[in-house]
């Protein structure tokens, strides 16, 4: 098992190199660079520069070098001293900006994942065991509704509900009076009051998807002979189901981490903008629009890394859960 993990970690290195090249290439793809977008903004307010000035500025930002040189410098900075480069727009080191946002992003993502699990597991089991019953139809209906409603609509609705009926401030993770304060019990309670909206919004689609997956998987497993064996042993119905087929059908739940983690972090951009959350999504969007290349590149790189870590985590958990995988 340990050698397997080490082996997987080594295999991550070439993948990471590939991801870094691709992410750097992506941010170079749109025509122009950060300077062009700055100049365009300047031109709007009638400030014009001579070609000489522009060339000087370009050299200042290091944008006159060939793309490969820029890439090598950027990567060397990351590998040698953890320096992800400098954000042109914010005038601050990229790493500072990202770490600031990563905490809230990760905690919201993990909370959403827990929400997804907590809701979809019981409903999925119920749906599979009582297939085509009224309860199953209702769960299916809400499941599809959850999949179909765009996140931002749900976000707006929930914001309205929490404002109108619970009298809370709209958007963000904290009420205005707590925003600048250090962490305290009161602030934590305030956080809990706010955090449920994004968690529900972000988790709904994933919940609906997992319910369907669990229902389909468990339906297959319920007809396997080993379930009959368990019943023939004299086990009560619920024990027979929970201990045997559910255990086998759980695999997609764990592998969900692999795809849910990056999706939660990048896919919630629109929700985060609507809800004004201090997460990574809006920052990434802004940096892409402004062609703030090091910030955007570092974000994409980190996202790639999170995906790899998520996959590794889910593979390790799968191996722990399912001996068949462990022994192969």
């Amino acid at each position: 098992m340990l050698s397997y993990i080490i082996q997987r970690l080594f295999l991550m290195i070439p993948t990471m190199i590939g991801i870094s090249i691709i992410s750097f290439a992506i941010i170079q793809l749109p025509p122009g660079d950060y300077l062009t977008s700055v100049l365009a903004a300047m031109a709007d307010s009638d400030v014009n520069f001579s070609d000489e000035q522009i060339a000087k500025m370009r050299a200042n930002y290091g944008l006159d070098e060939p793309m490969i040189m820029q890439y090598v410098k950027w990567i060397w900075g990351i590998v040698s001293r953890g320096d992800f480069g400098y954000s042109f727009e914010w005038n601050r080191p990229v790493s500072e900006l990202i770490w600031e946002r990563m905490g809230s992003t990760l905690s919201i993502s993990l909370l959403s994942l827990l929400f997804v699990w907590a809701v979809s597991l019981p409903i999925g089991i119920y749906s599979a065991v009582n297939r085509h019953s009224l309860g199953d139809h209702i769960a299916t209906f809400f499941g599809f509704l959850g999949l179909a409603i765009p996140n931002f609509i749900l976000a707006l609705t929930l914001m309205y509900v929490s404002f109108k009926y619970f009298g809370q401030s709209v958007g963000g993770l904290y009420s205005p009076e707590f925003a600048e304060q250090p962490m305290s019990w009161a602030k934590f309670v305030d956080l809990l009051k706010h955090v449920w909206v994004p968690v529900v919004v972000i988790g709904t689609a994933g919940t609906a998807a997992l319910i369907r997956i669990l229902r389909a998987n468990l339906t297959d497993e319920l007809n396997k002979p080993y379930v009959l064996t368990a019943r023939a042993k004299g086990l009560p119905e619920h024990t027979a189901i929970l201990r045997y087929p559910v255990r086998v059908a759980l695999n997609p739940f764990v592998s969900a981490i692999g795809w849910v983690l990056p999706q939660l972090i990048s896919g919630i951009t629109i929700t985060a903008i609507v809800l004004n959350l201090p997460t990574a999504g809006p920052l990434l969007l802004r940096s892409l629009i402004a062609q703030d290349m090091y910030l955007a590149g570092s974000f994409i790189l980190l996202m790639g890394m999170l995906t790899l870590i998520g996959m590794l985590l889910s593979d390790i958990l799968l191996a722990l859960l399912d001996p068949r995988i462990r022994f192969h």
């Binding site: 080993y226 064996t229 004299g234 255990r247």
Partner: protein, 577 residues
């Protein structure tokens, strides 16, 4: 034929443990109601074995599920009563709530169940020990540790080596026979009064089957259990049963002591069932038994080897499994050569290597073309191989999985012709029609889909497909083992007729020795990847020379209760290889 023919039972002093009276079960399907079991009555006696026989779909399994109150949602029990007799009074099982506590007290403790698929009847994600221990803790109230000790004892009783270590293993680390032993250990955990074994050995090799049945009989005698054995194998019934009940279309057709059923059957169906079993006990009368070994061989295999390497993550070979070792044999034109062996003996690998689906590690396969030229299949390049594949075709085991359900019969049979660009249009249709008639099917089947046909009919389509390109050799890998006995003989007869008509050579891979004897001219016996004996089929099957072949043959159940072969079999102890 509405009533059951019941042979009189001579000794009536045995006390019944379980009685089934007038049991009927209906299945409410979407379009109609299926009467799966109709008015079935029988009784199980202490220490006695009752065999329930019949072809697939005759309602055998549904009957056992009704006894355990484990029927599917769609099933309704419409009449009848099942009573469990015990020292503390009788319990009417049919009155119990299928999800209630009372029936759970009976399941696993007084009535236990073993069933067919040892691969899937145990959970893949729990250890063997935890699955057996669960029953002990449930019914005997043992603690975790006591249950573990008891489990080890049980595994020892079912003759699993190193039981303490094996209890901690998972099912996929066990072979089929060992899983079935573990399953038996689980069923016996609480010393049940009745043991229901639903096709317990169907998925096992003959030698493993013999061992498992031996074990079951011994444990039954020791504990005085009643055994209800469900099977379609009359040979097995003759070896172990005391009483037989024959089922067909949900009805009990005939019931009586074993000797009466086998030597004095009264109903037409029982006679037919016995006849089709007995027919497979000797060589087919359709065959002209000419010696062809003096003709030039169409296929001569020399020194063929295959090892499957296990590599570590850097691609280095750690150790190799030698699946086939130094196989040499000849196949003559118009001849059927049988390859028999247990699972894992390398017979399927050998067949696939000849087609080069699996690349041989060493050796040569000489193929004599129609013009007399001999070329080595092992050295052929792609275009040559494509041509070779037109001459050598394959028939698969499972008639349900080997036909694409989304294609019509015409498309399925025509596919090899279309893929090879041989013909199209009207010509193609005429050829498909011709092939269908060749395998005894109506041309009208062309536009229909496979699901409309039974297993035997589907296997005919597979055969038609394999004949489409006028092959010279057909490799049939367990082509009849998924079929019921009566249909098995029909398909074999069809193959023999086709062979005579088209001068085909068959390479017939099977684990069922009676089928090989019925169908083949010569036979190879494989064991651990090595050909241990080859020769004339009749000679090998009646007077084998090698100890392994002797052991294998003696493990084959004999469908005659007066001559129990399996019980007195010779055992083969393999020398380490």
């Amino acid at each position: 034929m509405t009533d059951t023919y019941i042979h009189p039972i001579k000794d009536t002093d045995a006390t019944p443990v379980l009685t089934v009276k007038n049991l009927s079960v209906d299945f409410h399907l979407r379009t109609h109601i299926l009467h799966a079991v109709r008015k079935v009555s029988f009784a199980l006696h202490k220490g006695k074995t009752m065999a329930l026989v019949g072809e697939s779909g005759s309602g055998k399994s549904v009957t056992t599920r009704a006894i355990m109150r484990l029927l599917d949602k769609e099933a309704r029990q419409t009449s009848g009563e099942i009573t469990l007799h015990g020292d503390d009074g009788d319990i009417r099982i049919t009155d119990l709530d299928p999800k209630g506590k009372a029936i759970r007290q009976i399941r696993g403790r007084r009535i236990a169940l073993i069933f067919q698929e040892p691969m899937s009847s145990l959970s893949p994600v729990h250890t063997i020990g935890s699955q057996i221990g669960e029953a002990l803790r449930l019914h005997r109230g043992l603690s975790k540790r006591e249950a573990m000790d008891e489990t080890v004892k049980l595994l020892e009783q079912v003759e699993i080596k190193d039981p303490a270590a094996m209890a901690k293993r998972y099912t996929f680390e066990f072979s089929g026979g060992m899983r079935q032993r573990a399953m038996i250990a689980m069923a016996l955990a609480c010393d049940p009064d009745v043991l229901i074994a639903d096709e317990p050995t169907t998925a096992l090799d003959v030698t493993t089957q013999a061992e498992v049945m031996d074990l079951l009989k011994r444990l039954q005698e020791h504990r005085g259990m009643a055994l209800l054995l469900i099977t379609h194998d009359l040979g097995l019934v003759a070896e172990v049963a005391d009483e037989v009940a024959v089922m067909r279309f949900g009805r009990l057709v005939e019931r009586g002591p074993i000797d009466d059923i086998f030597h004095n059957p009264q109903t037409a169906y029982a006679k037919k069932l016995l006849a089709s079993t007995m027919r497979l006990e000797r060589p087919s009368e359709l065959r002209d038994r000419r010696d062809r070994t003096s003709d030039p061989a169409v296929l001569s295999v020399r020194g063929l080897c295959k090892s499957f390497g296990v590599t570590n993550w850097r691609g280095q070979e750690i150790h190799a499994v030698r699946a086939v070792k130094d196989a040499s044999f000849d196949l003559y034109p118009g001849e059927s050569l049988g390859i028999v062996g247990e699972s894992g003996s390398g017979k399927t690998t050998l067949g696939r290597m000849i087609l080069r689906v699996i690349e041989p590690t060493a050796g040569e396969i000489g193929y004599r073309e129609t013009d007399g030229r001999v070329s080595d299949v092992a050295a052929m390049d792609k275009p040559e191989l494509a041509k070779f594949h037109r001459d050598v075709r394959l028939i698969f085991q499972d008639p349900f999985a080997s036909l694409n359900p989304r294609m019509t019969i015409k498309q399925i049979i025509a596919e090899p012709l279309v893929v090879n660009g041989v013909m199209q249009g009207v010509e193609l249709e005429a050829r498909v029609g011709e092939l269908l008639e060749l395998v005894g099917m109506d041309r009208g089947a062309m536009e229909r889909y496979p699901h409309a046909f039974s297993g035997g009919q589907r296997q005919r389509f597979s055969i038609a497909r394999s004949l489409a390109l006028n092959p010279r050799i057909i490799i049939a890998d367990e082509a009849t083992s998924a079929l019921d006995v009566s249909i098995r003989a029909q398909i074999l007869d069809l193959l023999i007729e086709l062979q005579k008509k088209l001068n085909l050579s068959f390479l017939f891979i099977a684990h069922d020795i009676s089928v090989v004897r019925y169908f083949c001219d010569r036979v190879l016996v494989m064991h651990h990847g090595r050909i241990v004996e080859q020769g004339d089929a009749e000679t090998v099957c009646t007077a084998p020379k090698e100890p392994y072949t002797k052991a294998l043959l003696s493990a084959v159940p004999n469908p005659d209760p007066r001559d129990k072969r399996m019980v007195h079999r010779t055992k083969f102890v393999a020398e380490e290889v």
